[in-house]
Symmetry: C2
Subunit: 153 residues, 2 copies
């Protein structure tokens, strides 16, 4: 006989899960708002610009960029289109693969990222880092990258 009773969360598990959802929402909204007010960029734009700024010649294949920012190709493509219209990026065709495209950061994109970065790091400190003890940072620095790579059995 199969027991189909749902395995509801106990109180502690529920506190961890609801707390997670609420913390994600709270921190995300505040950092998004600070960044938009300071620079006009979204956190999604910012993440794309950071990844390109760290890449050789400030360019990445769209598929590699999608993987790095954990977006589906179609969703990244829409985001890149918006950033191209804003002058932050250009698309360039791959020379060795005529079906492929690079996303390339423009000088304007680089300047916008450079101008936004000091304020953004202060915002990340205010809403996240400075709210944590050293012990909590050590804990999260171990746990979060692991949680980001899990696959259920």
């Amino acid at each position: 006989m199969t027991d189909d009773t749902p395995r509801w969360l106990d109180e502690r598990q529920m506190n961890a899960w609801r707390g997670w959802i609420e913390a994600v929402t709270h921190i995300g909204q505040r950092i998004e708002s600070d960044l938009r007010d300071d620079s006009g960029l979204t956190t999604d734009d910012y993440e794309v610009l950071v990844r390109l700024s760290e890449a050789p010649d400030r360019r990445l294949r769209m598929a590699d960029l999608a993987h790095q920012v954990m977006n589906s190709p179609s969703r990244l493509s829409q985001r890149v289109d918006r950033m191209v219209r804003s002058g932050l990026l250009v698309r360039e065709r791959c020379q060795d693969d005529r079906r492929g495209w690079f996303a390339v950061m423009t000088e304007e994109g680089y300047q916008r990222l450079s101008a936004a970065a000091p304020g953004h790091v202060e915002s990340v400190r205010a809403h996240f880092i400075d709210q944590l003890s050293d012990e909590e940072i050590v804990f999260l620095a171990e746990l979060m990258p692991r949680l980001a790579r899990t696959e259920p059995d």
Copy 2:
């Protein structure tokens, strides 16, 4: 003399912050995808339905619901409009405050939530709870609700 050098994050702080962003994205995408495939609901819909299911008469003032799901009134209003069109909710005018509105869960909304809940809790277990040790759950159950209520100095 003021030192305007940005206080960049050290390696451990950066691992905690980037790990956080990546874990939030990874877990959020997987649970969203499971819920949509299973029930056609978004996690935002689901959260609204849960809050209403826990409220007396399955109804909440829009302002109270916005506070509970940590949305701005305008953003919640758009979401509620979509859920009204889907038959999950109705809006009702407050009798004692002619400018105010309640969001009220329909019977269809309740049935959709009840049908979705067992699969959703399994998804939350698979992507979050089951990936954590008991010690990590205790830690997150303490830390996350606190992080969700922080205000910077």
